[in-house]
C-alpha cells in the first residue's frame, strides 16, 4: 500500500503537478494506448524470477551504513509528508538533502516551499538543482509519475540515480528511464509522520527496497538502496529486499482486495444487515467504524490465530464456518483481480479512466458518500473492546476470509509468502485505522487513486456476490452476539478448527516475520 492522499495529492501536495497534468492529459491518452507493459515484455521465466524476489535482510547486511550516499547530492521532488520527513531523517544521518520545487511554488511561497524552508533545507527550481543531483528521490503520487519523470529526466546528469517509492510507473506504464541512470525503490511501509517519529526515537519503520535490473548500469543500485534505508532508519525495523515487479503486483492485489475492497464491502453489508435486523443505527455505525480497527489490532499482534482466539469458543467456530463459506464464494473474484493485475488489464482499464477525467472513479466516490453506513453517525454509547469481537463475529470472519484468500491467491500467482504477508495481513490494521477516523470517506481519501479505483471495482463485484450468503445472516453474528447461555462446544470440532486456523500458510510466515521484527524491535 502506498501512502499518498488521493484527493489532496492533486490539489495540495505537489504544487506544480496540477498544471502539468492538465496540459499533458491529452498526450497521455495517446501514449497510454501505445504504452507497453514492462511485466508483459518479460519471458515467463523472468516474470517468475521477478515475482519471487523478496527476502528479509539482516541487520549485519547494513554495516556500510550510509557510506554509499555520503557526500552525494540528494534532491527530493515532492515535499509532502513522505518527502519532508524522509528528507529530515536523511539529513540527520549526515546526508546532503535539498528540495526541487516548481518556480511558481517558490515565487508564491506555497506550503511546500514553507515546509522545506522552515526546516532549513536548500530549495531550488528543477533547473537549478537537478543537473547537479547525484540522487533524485521521486516522492510524488504515482498518478503523476509519467509527467514528473518525463520532465526531470532530460535535466538529470549522466550516471545519476532515480529513486521511486512505488513501482507502478516502471512496471505498468513501462517508463523507459535513460540507460545511464540507476533506478531503485525505497518504500517505508508507514505514513510519513511515523517515519520521522520512529527515527527520532532511535528506531525506524519496516522498509521495502528494490533495484530495477534494467537500470543498474554500474551495479551499485543495491548499495544505494541499502544506504537510503539506513538513512531513514529503516534498517533497524527490518528491510525487505524485493523487485519492482513483485512490489507492484502484490501491492495492487492487496490494496484492491483485503485491505480496502473487503473492508468497504464488509462495512456496507454488515451495516445494512444490522438495520434489517432492527439494531439501533447509531450502534451499528459505531460497531463497524471502530470494529475493524479493534479486531485487526489483534491481527497485528498475533495474526489470524490471535484475532480468532479473542472470540469465545462457540463464536470462533461460527466465525470459522462463515469464513470458509465466504472464501468459497469469493475465491473466483480474488483470482480475477490477480489475473487482471498480472495481465495488465487492470492498469490499462484504470488508465483509460484517467484519460476520461476519472469519470468512473469520481462517480464511485460520490456513490460511496451516499451509502447508509456513511451517512449514519456513530452513536455515543460505550462499546468495550471485547464487545467489538463478541458482536462483530461476521466482521472477524470477513477479515479472516479476505486475508487468507488474498494471501493464497498471491502465492499461487508466484508472489513469495513474505511479500504476500506484508501486502495482506500486515497492512490491514493501518487501513482499518482510517475507517475508525472518518469511515470510508477517510479510507478512500487516504489511499492512492490507484487503490481507490481498485477498491471500488472489487466492491461492485463483491456486494452482489455475497447477496445470497447475507440473506442467511442474522444479528447473532453481527450486532448482538451469540446467546451464550450454553457456551459448550464439541472438543473434537474445536481442535479441528484451531488446527486449521493455526496451520494456514499466512500464519506460518507471519510467525517468522513477526519474530524477526520483534527481535529487532523494542526490547521490553
Amino acid at each position: 500500500m502506498q501512502y499518498g492522499g488521493a484527493m489532496t495529492s492533486c490539489c495540495r501536495m505537489w504544487d506544480t503537478v496540477l498544471q502539468i497534468s492538465q496540459f499533458t492529459k491529452r498526450v497521455d491518452v495517446g501514449s497510454v494506448a501505445a504504452m507497453a507493459n514492462y511485466f508483459n515484455s518479460l519471458s515467463l521465466r523472468e516474470q517468475l524470477a521477478e515475482l519471487g524476489k523478496c527476502r528479509f535482510m539482516h541487520l549485519d547486511e547494513f554495516t556500510e551504513g550510509v557510506d554509499a550516499l555520503m557526500g552525494k547530492k540528494i534532491v527530493v521532488i515532492g515535499c509532502g509528508a513522505q518527502g519532508l520527513n524522509q528528507g529530515l531523517n536523511l539529513r540527520d544521518s549526515g546526508l546532503d538533502v535539498s528540495y526541487a520545487l516548481r518556480e511558481a511554488a517558490i515565487a508564491e511561497q506555497r506550503q511546500s516551499w514553507k515546509n522545506a524552508t522552515e526546516n532549513g533545507f536548500t530549495v531550488g527550481t528543477y533547473e537549478e538543482l537537478l543537473p547537479t543531483a547525484d540522487v533524485v528521490l521521486n516522492l510524488t503520487p504515482d498518478k503523476q509519475h509519467t509527467n514528473v519523470v518525463n520532465t526531470i529526466m532530460p535535466m538529470m546528469k549522466q550516471g545519476a540515480t532515480l529513486s521511486y517509492s512505488h513501482g507502478f510507473n516502471i512496471v505498468e506504464e513501462a517508463m523507459a528511464v535513460r540507460d545511464d541512470i540507476t533506478v531503485i525503490m525505497v518504500a517505508p511501509k508507514c505514513p510519513g509522520s511515523e517515519v520521522r517519529a520512529e527515527y527520532v526515537r532511535g528506531f525506524g519503520v519496516p522498509t521495502l527496497i528494490a533495484v530495477h535490473e534494467d537500470n543498474d548500469p554500474n551495479g551499485e543500485g543495491l548499495a544505494l538502496a541499502k544506504a537510503y534505508a539506513v538513512g531513514t532508519g529503516g534498517h533497524k525495523a527490518g528491510v525487505l529486499m524485493s523487485s519492482f515487479v513483485a512490489e507492484v503486483k502484490s501491492d495492487l492485489m492487496g490494496e484492491q482486495t483485503i485491505l480496502c475492497g473487503m473492508l468497504q464491502t464488509g462495512s456496507l453489508l454488515c451495516f445494512d444487515k444490522m438495520i434489517d435486523e432492527g439494531i439501533d443505527p447509531g450502534y451499528a455505525s459505531k460497531l463497524i467504524q471502530y470494529g475493524w480497527e479493534t479486531v485487526t489490532e489483534a491481527l497485528k499482534y498475533g495474526g489470524v490465530t490471535n484475532m480468532m482466539d479473542r472470540l469465545s469458543n462457540p463464536a470462533k467456530i461460527r466465525a470459522f464456518d462463515l469464513a470458509e463459506e465466504m472464501k468459497d464464494i469469493m475465491r473466483p473474484l480474488y483470482q480475477k483481480h490477480q489475473d487482471d493485475i498480472m495481465t495488465g488489464a487492470f492498469s490499462s482499464g484504470m488508465m483509460d479512466d484517467w484519460a476520461n477525467d476519472d469519470a468512473k472513479l469520481l462517480g464511485w466516490r460520490a456513490d460511496t458518500a451516499e451509502t447508509a453506513f456513511e451517512k449514519t453517525e456513530a452513536g455515543d454509547m460505550e462499546i468495550s473492546e471485547q464487545e467489538y469481537f463478541d458482536n462483530g463475529i461476521l466482521m472477524v470472519a470477513m477479515v479472516k476470509a479476505g486475508v487468507e484468500l488474498a494471501f493464497e491467491t498471491m502465492t499461487a500467482a508466484g508472489i513469495v509468502a513474505d511479500s504476500a504477508y506484508y501486502e495482506s495481513l500486515h497492512e490491514t490494521p493501518l487501513i482499518a485505522n482510517t475507517i475508525a477516523r472518518k469511515k470510508l470517506y477517510e479510507m478512500n481519501a487516504t489511499i492512492s487513486d490507484t487503490a481507490e479505483y481498485g477498491c471500488y471495482l472489487y466492491n461492485h463485484a463483491c456486494v452482489p456476490l455475497l447477496a445470497d450468503f447475507m440473506t442467511g445472516i442474522t444479528s447473532d453474528v453481527i450486532g448482538k452476539g451469540l446467546d451464550l447461555s450454553d457456551a459448550g462446544v464439541d472438543n473434537a470440532r474445536l481442535i479441528e478448527v484451531n488446527a486449521a486456523i493455526r496451520s494456514h500458510p499466512v500464519e506460518e510466515i507471519g510467525a517468522v516475520l513477526r519474530g524477526h521484527m520483534a527481535d529487532m524491535k523494542r526490547i521490553v
Binding site: Y3, G4, G5, T8, S9, R12, M13, V66, M70, G71, G80, A81, Q82, L84, L88, R91, D92, S93, G94, L95, D96, Q109, Q111, K114, N115, T117, E118, N119, G120, F121, P141, P191, G192, S193, E194, A197, V200, R201, G202, F203, K236, L430, N433, T434, R437, A445, T446, M520, K521, R522, I523, V524
Partner: protein, 473 residues
C-alpha cells in the same frame, strides 16, 4: 458561591489499575479553599482528578459535586497534547498536518469570550492564537490550559500545579487573579511546593500512599507546624551512580569549546524567535539560561542537541563537529544528556522504568538494543537514589508526572555526559525531590566531567557552582 457541601465518604477509586485511592473521607464545605499536599506519587493529583469526575469508583460515595468542574493538570495537558499528536500520527494523508490552532482549543470550552480575550492578552498569547496548539512551548500550553479553565465559568476550580512552568510576570498575575476569584469560586489546589501556598487557602489535605492522612485547618498552628515537618523530610546522603565503563565515548579535544554558536538565528515565515546570538560554552563552565515563556529557551537548546531543523542553516560547532558537514545526529547526541517537558511528552512508549533509564545510554526513546547486566545494575542504583528501589519493572507510563520526571532526569545523567542539558528539570517535583535533584546537579557540576546547562525561572532553584547566566527575551 455554591451552598452544597462536597462529600466523599469511604471512597475508593481505581485509575485503570495503575493507581488507587483508598477509603477517602473528606468534606469540602462552602467557604473553604483547599490545598492538597504530598510527595510525588502519593496520590495528590489522583485526588484532585476525582473531583473532576475521573477514575472508577469501587466503593464509597461522592456527593455534592457541581456540574461544571474545571481541572488544570499535567495529565490533562498531556492528554490534550497526546490527542493532537495522535491526529498527526494517524495522518496517513501525504500532507503535513498543522494541528488545531490555539484559538480553537480555547473556544472548545470557553463560555466567556470577553474574559478569554483579556486573558489571552494578559498572558501574552495574542501573537500565538493562530499557531497550532502542539507547537507551543511548555509554559505556553500551560497558559492555554489555564485560560480554558478560567473561561469555562467553573463552579469548582481544581488546579494541579498551576504555577509550575510560568514565567515570573505570568505567575504574579495568576496569583493575584486566583486570590480575587477565591471570593466567588471554590478552589482546590495541588502544589508540590509548600512555600507557594496562597493566602486564601484555608485548609490543607495531606495525601500519602493513596490515602488522605491529615486534614489541617490553616489557623491551627500546631498541626500546621507538624505538617511542615512531615513535608520537609531531609534528603539522605547521596552518591551519583557510576557510568558504564563499556560505553566510553570518542574523546573530545580539550582545547576546543563544547559548543560554539555564531550569530544563531531561528526564524519562521511569520516570526523571528531570536537572532544573531553568539554563545560559547567551554568545558566545565556551567550555565543557567532564563527568560519568559516563549522567549526561545527550548528552541536555543534544541539547536545544540540537533533537534531543531534550523541547526543546519546556522553556524554551529558542537563537540568538534561543524553542523551540516556529514555528521549524524547520533554522533552529536552521544555527548549529551537531556531532560525537558517536551521530552516527557514524547516519551510515549510502553517500557519499564529500568529500560527508560538505560535508554539514556543509547539516546533513544524506548530501548531497541539489548542492555547489559552492568547497565541494568546502574539503572537500579539510580532508582535507589531516587527512592524508587524495587520498582524497576513497573511500566513507565503508569507513573505519576513527577515520578516520570525523576526517571527522565536519571536517564539524562546515567552516562555522565560531557554536556548535561536540564530544561526546567524540577517541574512537577515535590519539595523533597526538588532538593534531591538540585543536590544531584550540584554533585555533577563538581565532578569535573560534566558541563551543565540549566534552564529555570525560579531564582530560589539556583545551583551553587553555576556561575554563568544567559538571559533571553
Amino acid at each position: 458561591m455554591s451552598e452544597t457541601q462536597i462529600k466523599l465518604e469511604d471512597l475508593s477509586v481505581d485509575f485503570d489499575g495503575r493507581f488507587r485511592l483508598d477509603d477517602i473521607t473528606w468534606a469540602i464545605t462552602p467557604g473553604q479553599q483547599w490545598l492538597i499536599a504530598g510527595a510525588n506519587g502519593s496520590g495528590k493529583s489522583a485526588l484532585a482528578a476525582v473531583l473532576a469526575g475521573e477514575g472508577d469508583h469501587i466503593s464509597g460515595t461522592l456527593v455534592g459535586l457541581p456540574g461544571n468542574v474545571a481541572l488544570v493538570s499535567y495529565e490533562r495537558q498531556a492528554e490534550l497534547i497526546a490527542a493532537e499528536l495522535r491526529k498527526d500520527d494517524a495522518d496517513i494523508l501525504d500532507v503535513i498536518s498543522e494541528g488545531t490552532p490555539v484559538s480553537e482549543i480555547i473556544a472548545e470550552v470557553c463560555l466567556d469570550d470577553a474574559l478569554a480575550q483579556e486573558l489571552v492578552a494578559t498572558l501574552g498569547l495574542k501573537p500565538l492564537t493562530d499557531r497550532a496548539f502542539r507547537k507551543l512551548s511548555t509554559g505556553e500550553t500551560r497558559k492555554v490550559m489555564l485560560i480554558r479553565a478560567l473561561t469555562s465559568r467553573p463552579e469548582l476550580l481544581v488546579l494541579d500545579e498551576p504555577f509550575d512552568g510560568l514565567d515570573h510576570d505570568s505567575l504574579e498575575w495568576l496569583q493575584g487573579h486566583l486570590a480575587a476569584l477565591a471570593e466567588t469560586v471554590p478552589m482546590v489546589l495541588v502544589l508540590n511546593r509548600f512555600d507557594e501556598c496562597p493566602d486564601f487557602i484555608t485548609h490543607i489535605a495531606y495525601v500519602d500512599g493513596g490515602q488522605l492522612l491529615h486534614q489541617v485547618d490553616r489557623s491551627d498552628e500546631q498541626s500546621l507546624a507538624e505538617l511542615h515537618q512531615l513535608i520537609h523530610l531531609k534528603t539522605s546522603e547521596l552518591d551519583v551512580p557510576a557510568a558504564d565503563p563499556a560505553m566510553a565515548l570518542p574523546s573530545l579535544n580539550p582545547d576546543e569549546p563544547l559548543v560554539q554558536l555564531s550569530k544563531a538565528t531561528v526564524r519562521y515565515t511569520d516570526n523571528t524567535v531570536f537572532e544573531n546570538l553568539d554563545w560559547t560554552i567551554d568545558a566545565n563552565e556551567h550555565w543557567q539560561v532564563s527568560g519568559p515563556n516563549g522567549s526561545g529557551k527550548t528552541c536555543l537548546l534544541s539547536l545544540i542537541t540537533g533537534d531543531h531543523p534550523q541547526c543546519y542553516v546556522n553556524d554551529i560547532r558542537v563537540f568538534g563537529f561543524q553542523r551540516g558537514t556529514g555528521e549524524s545526529i547520533w554522533q552529536i547526541k552521544q555527548y549529551i544528556g537531556y531532560v525537558s517537558t517536551a521530552l516527557q511528552w514524547e516519551y510515549r512508549v510502553g517500557t519499564s522504568l529500568r529500560n527508560v533509564i538505560i535508554s539514556g545510554f543509547y539516546d533513544s526513546i524506548g530501548l531497541y538494543t539489548k542492555s547489559t547486566d552492568t547497565q541494568k545494575a546502574i539503572a537500579d542504583d539510580w532508582l535507589h537514589v531516587l527512592g524508587m528501589a524495587g520498582r524497576s519493572d513497573e511500566p513507565f507510563t503508569g507513573l505519576s508526572f513527577g515520578e516520570q520526571r525523576l526517571a527522565l532526569i536519571a536517564r539524562a545523567m546515567v552516562k555522565h555526559p560531557p554536556l548535561l542539558i536540564l530544561d526546567e528539570p524540577c517541574l512537577g517535583l515535590d519539595d523533597m525531590n526538588r532538593q534531591l535533584v538540585l543536590a544531584l546537579i550540584e554533585r555533577i557540576c563538581r565532578s569535573g566531567n560534566t558541563t551543565v546547562l540549566y534552564v529555570n525561572h525560579r531564582l530560589e532553584d539556583a545551583i551553587p557552582g553555576i556561575e554563568n547566566h544567559l538571559a533571553l527575551g
